[in-house]
Structure formats: C-alpha cells, structure tokens
C-alpha cells in the first residue's frame, strides 16, 4: 500500500513535469514581442528595471544563460547563421576580437554613447557598445597584514620578494577569466620578452595556481568572510571588498579585505552589448542597446553584477561610493593583440609556471 502511494506520487510529479509550469498569460491587445538576450552566468539586473522596458516596448525579454564568457562567445560564433539570441550582453575585451573576426554582430551606434567616455569605445565600427567595466586586481587579507611584519604589496615586483613567499594565490589563465586578466597585466607591465621571467620568480616564491576564481577566493584565500584558505593575497576584483560588506549578512562597517589599485597592477575588463547578425526584431534589439546604456539600467548594474557602469551620469549605490575603488591607470593591451597572442602567451606561461 505504502509503495503504491509513493509510486502514485512519483507519477503525479512526472505528469506535473509534462504540464506547463505557469498558466498562459492573457494576451494583450497585441501580443508582446519576445527579444532573446544571451548573457554569461554572472548577469543579473532588477526585475523592476526589466519590467519598465517590457511595458514601454510591449516586449518580453528572455535571458539565456550561456555559461562563462568564453562559452557564450563560442556558442554565438557556431550558431552565427541561426543565432541563439537577438542580442548578446557581456562579451569582454579579452574575447571581443574573436567575435568581431567571426562577424557575429551588426553595427549600431546608440545615441546614448554620447555620454560615455571614449576610452571604453573599442570598436570604431560600433558593432558593440560598452556597458560596464571591472578591474581585476590583487586583494589582500587586512587582518593578516595588520599582524604581519610586512605591509601589503604595492607593486607586482613586491610579490617576488621573499617576504611575500607563499602568500599569493592566482587563477590559471587557461581556465579562468580573472586568471587571464592577471597574466595580461604582467605582460603589459614587463613586456612580452620579460613577463615569463617574472612568472618564474613568482614560481620560485611559491605562487599557488588554481583553476577558477571560486577555488582561489573561497578555498585558498584567507581574507574573505566566507573564505577558508590560508593565503592572504588573491587575484580578484577591485569591487570585491565592497561586495564583502554588502554580502556580509551582518552590519559590517569595514570590509575584511582590501584591493590594491596601484598603477600598472590591474587589468580593466570592459563588457559590451551587441546586436547579433540574423537575429529577430532588429528595432527592438536597438531599443535594448539604448536601454542598457540608459541611466535606469546603468545605475542598477553595480549591486547586481559588482562592476562599474560605463555611464558617468549613472548613480552609484552607497556601498560602492564608500568601499569600491577603481584602478589608477590599469594595464593596457589592444583587443587585437590579445586575440592574436592569447594561445602563444598561455602556452608559454604553462611551460614556465606549471611544467
């Protein structure tokens, strides 16, 4: 008898799976058009902001989570002729060149671009528009350095000093985007012919390389309130200390970590939005790009994605104003240079650091 009950329950669950999860909404005067937006897994934004757009344009936005940025770009390139979505949000400057070469975007010059600093506009044909940016930089455990004999490092060279031996954890540039960003920082700082020497010195100073940001920050780093590791210096973002305060779960006044933003020690990841070739509802897609650059969307970015909006007129939330910092003169490498040399740089790095 009991078994029958369980069986019936399972069957009922299975049937529930076949039924549509939600009842169909009653159709409006004209049915809303659906715009598909492809994003990476870190994308998020307020429901209210999205609803405002949907109401104004009689549209429905469908967001597709395509995994990490590299996966998203590969998927867009492979499905170019019959795209998965109409708009892509979140491709960054380390992958931009690959997508541009594969010609997956159509040009569109948004009006809102006028309010955005030129430094963020990396494609002069306007195939993509910048929407947000974040600085990848070193974070350190403040409690550790309060008690330690050394002060927190201020330059990349400091990290090769024996005083900092065994303190740093970084991500593998072959599998992690902040990892790649930090590798690019060192290439920008030391040049193509000397960056490997720098890494060999780091290796001699017992740098730890792990696969992803989560492993580095939560398993190996000691600074974050949720971190379980023992190393007090990690590659993370300039906004991480602000996130530590915001997500502390208790009224924390000061972050347990701090970011190092000294000149030449950070890499700036700029994210873009672009209209995909062969996508549907071109006019609506253009409206979405304008919307992504509008102040209502831009002001909503910080607390959802923990990066800065590109618009200078966007309002920053208080926790950003107090605790988030920006890099002073971050490392610079052109998108073309990155795409052309990525494989060679990473392979050389693997040989120098891992073998």
């Amino acid at each position: 008898m009991k078994h029958w009950l369980i069986l019936m329950l399972l069957l009922a669950l299975l049937l529930m799976g076949c039924a549509p999860a939600t009842p169909e909404p009653t159709p409006a005067v004209t049915a809303p058009r659906e715009l598909r937006v492809m994003t990476h897994g870190s994308f998020d934004i307020s429901a209210e902001v999205i609803e405002a757009f949907e109401t104004r344009h009689n549209a429905r936005l469908q967001f597709l989570d395509a995994g990490d940025t590299g996966e998203m770009v590969s998927q867009a390139i492979l499905s170019r002729d019959d795209p998965l979505a109409d708009v892509m949000y979140g491709i960054d400057n380390t992958f931009l060149s690959r997508a541009l070469e594969a010609d997956v975007f159509v040009p569109y010059q948004p009006e809102a671009l006028a309010d955005i600093p030129d430094a963020f506009v990396l494609d002069d044909q306007f195939r993509v528009a910048p929407v947000d940016y974040g600085d990848v930089c070193l974070n350190y455990d403040r409690a550790y350095f309060e008690d330690a004999a050394v002060s927190p490092p201020q330059t990349l060279e400091d990290l090769t000093d024996p005083a900092y031996r065994g303190l740093l954890v970084v991500q593998n540039p072959a599998s992690s985007s902040p990892g790649l960003a930090f590798l690019l920082t060192t290439i920008s700082a030391f040049g193509e012919d000397r960056y490997l020497d720098y890494w060999r010195q780091l290796r001699a100073n017992d740098v730890l390389v792990v696969d992803s940001w989560s492993s580095a920050y939560y398993t190996e780093f000691s600074g974050g309130a949720g971190s379980e590791g023992a190393r007090p210096i990690v590659v993370s973002y300039a906004t991480s200390p602000a996130a530590e305060v915001h997500f502390s779960g208790e009224a924390l006044e000061e972050p347990p970590t701090a970011a190092i933003v000294a000149p030449g020690t950070c890499f700036r990841q700029i994210e873009f939005v672009g209209i995909l070739r062969h996508g549907a509802h071109r006019d609506l897609a253009e409206e979405f790009v304008e919307f992504a650059l509008s102040d209502s969307f831009q002001s909503d970015i910080p607390l959802h994605m923990w990066v800065f909006p590109v618009s200078e007129t966007a309002e920053l939330p208080e926790v950003f104003a107090t605790h988030a910092v920006r890099a002073e003169s971050p490392a610079t490498l052109s998108v073309g240079q990155i795409e052309q040399n990525r494989e060679a740089w990473i392979n050389a790095w693997i040989d120098a650091v891992l073998r």
Partner: protein, 551 residues
C-alpha cells in the same frame, strides 16, 4: 521441428528490431546526429583545417603525454575503487544492520554535488588544516597532487561499485560458498574460486563504468588536481573555449571516443563470455545479521572507511551551512535586490526534481527496451557498446553539437526543457543498460521456457518472471539516472538553458560572488541538494512491483 526452430529464430530477430527501435532512434537523434555535425563543422571550420598541422599536433609528445596520463589515472583510480568498494559491496550484500539504507544513500551523495563544493569539502580532509595533518604534522597537504585526484575518484565512484555489485551479490546463493567452506576450503580460496567467478560479470560492468567515468574526468582533475594535470577532456575544453581551435578539439574528441569504444567493445565481448545463468535467491535468504566477532569487525572497518571518505567531508559542509544558525537558509528565501536571476529555493528544488524524474523515466524505458533486445542477441555486444559512447564523449563537444543541430528543423528544441531532459537521459542510459544486462543474463532460461510452455505470452513472461528478478537492478539504474540528472552532468553545461533554474545552477551563481552570505547560501543550497537527493534515493529503492516477492 526444424521449421519451428527457424521461425522461432526469426521471431527473436524480429523481437530484437522491435525492442531496439526506440533506443536506437534516440541514440541516433540525440547522439550520433549532433556528434557528426559538430565534427563536420569543426573540420571545415573557417578553413582553419590543415591536415598536416592537425596530424602533427595529434602526434605531438604533449598530446601523447595527456593520453598517457588520462589512461594511467583512470586505470589506477578504477583499481583503487574496486579494491575499496568490493568489501563494502560484500557487507551490504550479506549483512543486515541498522541504518543500512541511509548509509547507502549517503555514499551516492557525492555524485550530485558540484565539484567546486566537493573541493571545499575535501580541503577539510586533505588540506593542511585537516585532522590528518594534525596527526602527521605540518607540511601535510595532499591538495593539487595525483593522490588528490585518485582519492576524489574513489570518493565519487565508490557508490557505483557498491550499488551495482551489491545488488547482484545479494541474490547469489550463499549455499555455494557454504558448501565449499564445509568441504574445507579457506575463505580466501572460496572467494577466489567460487564467489569472484560468479560475480565477474557485474564487477566488470561496474569497473568499466568507473573506468570511463575517470577516463573522461573533468572537474576533479581541473579543480582538485590543479593546473598541472590535464586529461583529454580538460584539453578538449581548453582547445574549444579558450583557444577556439575547433579542428584539434574535434580530433581529440574523436580520439577519446575511439578509446572508449575500444574498451567498451572488449568489455561487452568479455561480458558475453563470462555471464551465466544462476539460481538467484531473494534477499531475505542471503542476508543476516553479522554474528561472529570477525564479521562485526569487518563490517565496522568498512563502515568506518565510508564514514571517513564520504560522510565526514559532507558533514563538514552541512555543519558550515549552519555556521550562523539558520541565517544562510533564511537568506535563500529573500531577494533584497529584486534580481531577475534570483532563484527561489523551492522552485529550484521543484525544477531539479521534475527534470530528474522525467530523465529517469525516459532512461528506464529506453534502457529496459535496449537491454531486453540485447541480452539474447548473438551480435548484441557490438550494439551494446554503442550505448556506452555518450559517457565517453566530451561534454563540450556534444553540447556544441546540440547547439548546431537542435535549433533547426526537424528538431526545434533549443532552449526547451525537453532538450535538457533528453541530454540527461543520454548520459543516464548507460547506467541503466549496464545495471540491467548482468541481471537479465543471470536468469535461468528454463524459467522463461517453462513459463512460455505453460502458455504465457512474452509480455506476461516479462512481467511475471523477468521483471521481479531484475527489479533490484532496475532500481540501481534508476538511482543513477536520477543522480546524473540531479547533479547536472556533462553536455547540459553547454546547453543554453531555458528560464528554469535548477539547484546546481543556483549554487554556481552564489559561488561566483564574494561575501560570507554568498558562500553560506551556496553551502545551504548544497545541503538542500544533498537532502533532496538522499530522500530521492531512498524512495526509489523502496519502490517494488506490487504483489511480487522482492529479490
């Protein structure tokens, strides 16, 4: 008379085609079609293909090193898992003790957890702050070593050996062993000469599953092994995503599939030779409470191993999720910033369960049809091997294949829940087939024959003779099908998801942000995933066909 034999053979042939039709069509549409498409597109990818370059890359010493490492670690992992898992399977097959169901369910939990979470759990066992390190002194750190990979593979796959072998072992007639003992054979000799040969089919089947699992290992190698180690699967991912070298990625994928096919063929051929019909006994005949002190010691030793290897790291995770009382759990139900990607925990549980149950149902139906078609077929072993291929195929490759083929007619499934269910089914199917075949092959033909002689239709023979006997094996297959789906395996990570967040996706979202609350919520969500899965395992095991004696 002769004519009759011929017609019966024809009928059997016909039966084969009828039974195999659905599973083979499924495999054709959701495996071979996307696979050939991605390989074709990759090889003609923007004219990047230069056969000489590709060939030299494939034969480069670095590639050979990767293949060698992939094979070596998989081999050692499999041997270790067998060595540790078989004694466990024995105590579960022969002894009855309190808490058995729960312990067995707990051993399967690692399968559903994201590797990042497992890595966090493992640092409590392998890291410099572990209990072991306290004993062995400073400097003890097994993380990012080959040992970490091997231990993690045992951690994951122990349950495969335990469940598969245990199910079969518990139906073996203990009278055979007792007779040998009475005749004066020492226990080891009894095991070597009587038990092991009888068990061989199921040990081989569990072994090949574990081997292929380790052979295509991705997360464990990447996260726990650290960047120094690379398996073929890791290399394929890197070539596809990071370097966009699609021709090389496709070629490496084919190499991996080719190896998988080779071993599977060798195995299915062997399987056919070593399987034999047995007089199976229901469990209540074969199981008893441990009595002698030696038996109790053996039982306790095995349970301790499971406790140290599995329960302790998982328990550490659970405890940490309660580190601030219920705060992390309460936070799961809140969405202070009104984000559109907020995942209500109950919805995630509902979505995960719904997809898992659908995938399990489909995998069971297809797996049952395939196994029934295969097990009396002369060249069945050739077809059988095909069902293992999805397990040995790179998830990235298959995912991109889905991307190319499932968005256009005739299959407009892109972004649908159905596609996720089909992808999970594809990976779950090998578990069901592998679990069912040894059980079916062990049925005495005369049972079927006498039922048929008495006038039972083939369907009735199946329902009243075969089904009760293979029920336990079916339950084992069901548990793994459910598990594979709950843990979001393989190809699905590359499928663009519909608006239907599952528990693992919620965990990944929390883990991608700094802050105590995010980490705590990831742990809380993991705890929920473990709890739901344990309930699922126990419920599936308790299901019995009504009115029949359980085996």
């Amino acid at each position: 008379m002769q004519r009759k034999a011929v017609s019966s053979m024809r009928r059997r042939q016909l039966g084969f085609y009828v039974l195999m039709a659905a599973p083979l069509v499924f495999l054709l549409i959701f495996y071979f079609y996307p696979l050939q498409e991605i390989v074709r597109v990759s090889m003609t990818w923007r004219d990047r293909l230069q056969p000489e370059v590709l060939w030299s890359r494939l034969w480069a010493s670095s590639t050979r090193r990767v293949i060698g490492f992939t094979f070596g670690q998989a081999f050692i992992s499999t041997v270790l898992t067998l060595l540790l898992g078989l004694p466990g399977a024995y105590v579960f097959a022969r002894y009855d003790f309190p808490g058995k169901r729960l312990i067995q369910a707990l051993t399967t939990v690692p399968f559903v957890l994201p590797t990042v979470v497992v890595a966090a759990a493992f640092s409590t066992v392998l890291g410099p702050r572990s209990l072991l390190a306290e004993r062995l002194g400073a400097g003890f750190d097994l993380r990012y070593t080959l040992s970490a990979i091997l231990i993690a593979h045992v951690f994951y796959n122990y349950t495969v050996i335990l469940r598969m072998v245990r199910g079969f072992w518990s139906t073996l007639d203990p009278y055979l062993e007792q007779a040998a003992r009475t005749l004066g054979a020492p226990p080891l000799r009894v095991f070597w000469e009587i038990t092991l040969p009888l068990l061989l089919p199921v040990v081989a089947t569990a072994g090949i599953l574990v081997f292929i699992f380790c052979f295509t290992s991705f997360g464990v190698v990447l996260i726990l092994g650290g960047p120094r180690f690379a398996t073929l699967e890791v290399e394929i991912y890197r070539q596809t995503i990071q370097l966009a070298n699609l021709p090389l990625a496709a070629a490496l994928s084919l190499v991996q599939i080719f190896f998988t096919l080779g071993w599977t063929l060798a195995y299915t051929r062997l399987q056919e030779r070593i399987s034999r019909p047995l007089d199976l006994q229901p469990q209540w005949v074969t199981q008893r409470r441990p009595r002698k002190p030696l038996e109790v010691v053996f039982l306790v030793m095995n349970l301790s191993l499971m406790a140290v290897l599995m329960v302790y790291p998982l328990l550490a995770l659970v405890l940490r999720s309660f580190g601030r009382g219920l705060q992390f759990y309460i936070a799961l139900f809140e969405n202070p910033s009104h984000g559109i990607f907020y995942v209500p925990p109950l919805a995630a549980v509902g979505n995960s369960l719904r997809i898992a149950l659908l995938a399990m149902g489909l995998a069971l139906i297809l797996g049952l049809l395939a196994s029934l078609g295969l097990y009396r077929q002369r060249l069945g072993w050739l077809v059988d091997a095909l069902f293992m291929l999805p397990l040995g195929t790179s998830a990235v490759t298959l995912g991109l294949g889905y991307l190319l083929t499932m968005g256009r007619p005739p299959f407009r499934l892109r972004g649908s829940v159905a596609l996720i269910v089909f992808a999970h089914t594809l990976v779950a199917l090998p578990f069901v087939v592998r679990s069912l075949l040894p059980a079916l092959q062990s049925i005495q033909p005369r049972l079927r024959e006498s039922a048929a002689l008495l006038g039972a239709s083939p369907l009735r023979v199946f329902i009243e003779v075969e089904l009760p006997i293979v029920w336990r094996a079916l339950a084992v297959g069901a548990v793994f099908a459910f598990t594979v789906s709950m843990g979001e395996f393989g190809a699905t990570s590359m499928i663009v998801r519909p608006d239907m967040p599952t528990i693992p996706i919620a965990i990944f979202r929390f883990l991608s942000r700094p802050g105590a609350l995010n980490y705590g919520q990831a742990l809380a969500m993991s705890t929920i995933l473990m709890t739901v899965s344990v309930f699922g395992f126990v419920a599936i095991e308790r299901l019995r066909p009504p009115g029949t004696q359980a085996f």
